[in-house]
Amino acid sequence: MTAIETGRGRYAVQRGTRRSRRSLTAIAAGIVALAVAPFVLSSYAIDQLTELFLLALVAGMWNALAGYGGLISIGQQAFIGLGAYATIVLSHRGVPPYLAIVAAAVIGGVLAVPISLLVLRLRGGQFAIGTWVVAEVLALLIALDPSVGGGTGVSLTGLNVYPPADRQAYTYWLTLGFGVLLLGAIFALLRSSIGAGLQAIRDDEEAAASLGVRVYAGKRLLFVLASFGCAAAGALTLAKTLFIQPRSIFGLESTASMIFMVLVGGLGTFEGPLIGAIVFFAIQHWFADFGAWYLIGLGTTAVAFALFVPRGLWGWAEQRLHVQLFPVGHRLDVRAPDSDDRRSRPNADRSASRGRN
């Protein structure tokens, strides 16, 4: 924190508020609590929590791309499928399944480098469809390969050696681990100087480039990170369901749900995807049986949020309640000259933290 004394008052640039520091401590405690959950909760609850973490993970990845890199991808299912099929291929070669999941995530991240060279030539809507074509090509190639089940699908058999309850707990821990690791990495990235550059790219690419931000490198970093996360999510989905088909794992539905979660939770806010994941999880639980009407509702809600609540539920709450759980930005703290009041004044706060975070 840098404090500046002037005649009229004292100003300080802060990385967070006292409340956000407290909330970080609470979150650390929460993660520890979640880590011991398999010893306490039923296996059904663990299964549901795994599902929720997977949603939060992919939503966080999509938000990293769109909310910070300005890259709208509708092809993240490419990496979900890659992660799942890489796990299959590795376990066929005799790699222990849980190690195969971790390795598959790494493979997804590595393959994202050459793919990024292609798709990052495109911008805006072209990038969106370009990533989608990549996903289609991968699905078609895998459907051609009979050694991974072709179009009919394939099972992950290596996990049968574990009793179901153990398997659920291991998958849960691995999901929690990947979630904390990747969201933590994005948190750290956003607080670093690279993060400031990334947020500048999102706000105005040309202006950022003119100030010396390495736009292309920043975008590629986000793309690789998001691909790594999605590949991990795909591999973990396979560990959960034990069976995949190219048509469903490479389906557009997974990316559609990512878009929904991020739009509802808050595009470009760190907390948004987590909120969005909880909302989507609940909606899915209650309304998925309504079939087409359920999807019509999701689509309409997403459009309404994009138009009328562009920063989602979290952005809305942040603006009105001045709460911040994950301090990723800078805040200007203005204090009255003749008072030792430690609280920042909301007005100054809001004008200082223009933009997002």
């Binding site: 709208i72 292609l118 030539r121 495109l122 809507g125 078609l140 051609l144 019509i296 999701l298 459009v303």
Partner: protein
């Protein structure tokens, strides 16, 4: 000789993709947005033609004459209701809203018309089955030629419209710089709405041609969107004639791939698209499209 036939079939298939790509190319050229619901709007057009043709008992070609003006108005309304607001929200918002619209359209169609696969081929009569048999292996279908003629007429007509009419000049001016265009008295919002109207109407036409040529169902849209987009990129963005060429190249890539092995049909098209993307020429792509 068989390869000549494969290439000719590819050209005829590509004409359908060029029809689809026409509206996408126009909207991208004028507004710099990609309408992710473009394919689904085309499928709506196909369903409307199907409804008119079966209810009124007329040929799908007659039904098209009734449906295209309706879609022209619907496109204008779509712009006013959704796209205008989206454009005001920044460059990413139109993508998000049209993606949401695509999901809504697919599921409404599913709800209204059931997920059954349909075709307008039978209703269109002899034109879909008739062909000129040039040699033993080489036959050219009448409908294929009609589609190609339609694509040339539509894309060529639109290119001439943009080049030589007052409204076309306004569209080109707005595409280059909407603010400057407004300074000289052009209502950019009206231009955008007109461009959307034309794009939606051509999409409906493309959907109807697809429905006569093969089959359609509520979820046919996304695939057609991908093909249309590939045609635009292969042909070079910003040129309507290029879009026609791009569609034809894509069509040939698919039929050649499909002739080697039916499973390679889609893959062939995608690989040509990725090759164009990877070629040094496309380095200029990003620069050209970065124009506001």
């Amino acid at each position: 000789m068989i390869w000549v036939s494969v290439v000719i079939q590819g050209v005829l298939l590509g004409a359908v993709y060029a029809l689809f790509a026409c509206g996408l190319s126009l909207m991208f050229g004028v507004m710099r947005i990609i309408n992710l619901a473009h394919g689904d709007i085309a499928v709506v057009g196909a369903y409307l033609v199907w409804v008119v043709a079966t209810r009124a008992g007329v040929s799908p070609f007659v039904a098209m004459v009734a449906v295209v003006p309706v879609m022209l108005v619907a496109g204008y309304g779509l712009h006013l209701a959704l796209l205008r607001r989206s454009l005001a929200g920044g460059p990413l918002v139109p993508l998000l809203t049209t993606f949401g619209l695509a999901i809504v359209i697919q599921n409404v169609l599913q709800q209204v018309f059931s997920p059954d696969v349909r075709s307008l081929g039978a209703a269109a009569g002899r034109v879909t089955t008739a062909s000129w048999r040039l040699t033993g292996e080489l036959a050219i279908s009448w409908f294929g030629i009609a589609t190609l003629a339609m694509a040339v007429l539509l894309l060529g007509g639109l290119a001439l419209f943009l080049r030589h009419t007052g409204l076309g000049r306004e569209m080109r001016a707005t595409a280059q710089d909407p603010d400057a265009a407004q300074l000289v008295g052009i209502d950019a919002r009206a231009v955008y709405a007109r461009a959307t109207a034309v794009a939606v109407a051509t999409a409906a036409l493309a959907g109807a041609f697809l429905a006569i040529r093969s089959t359609f169902e509520p979820t046919s849209g996304p695939t057609q969107l991908i093909f249309a987009f590939e045609a635009v990129v292969i042909g070079g963005t910003g040129s309507l004639w290029g879009t026609l060429v791009g569609g034809i190249i894509l069509g040939i890539a698919q039929t050649v791939g499909g002739h080697i092995d039916p499973q390679y049909s889609l893959l062939g098209g995608h690989l040509v698209f990725l090759a164009v993307l990877a070629s040094p020429r496309s380095k200029t792509l990003a620069a050209r499209t970065s124009r506001p």
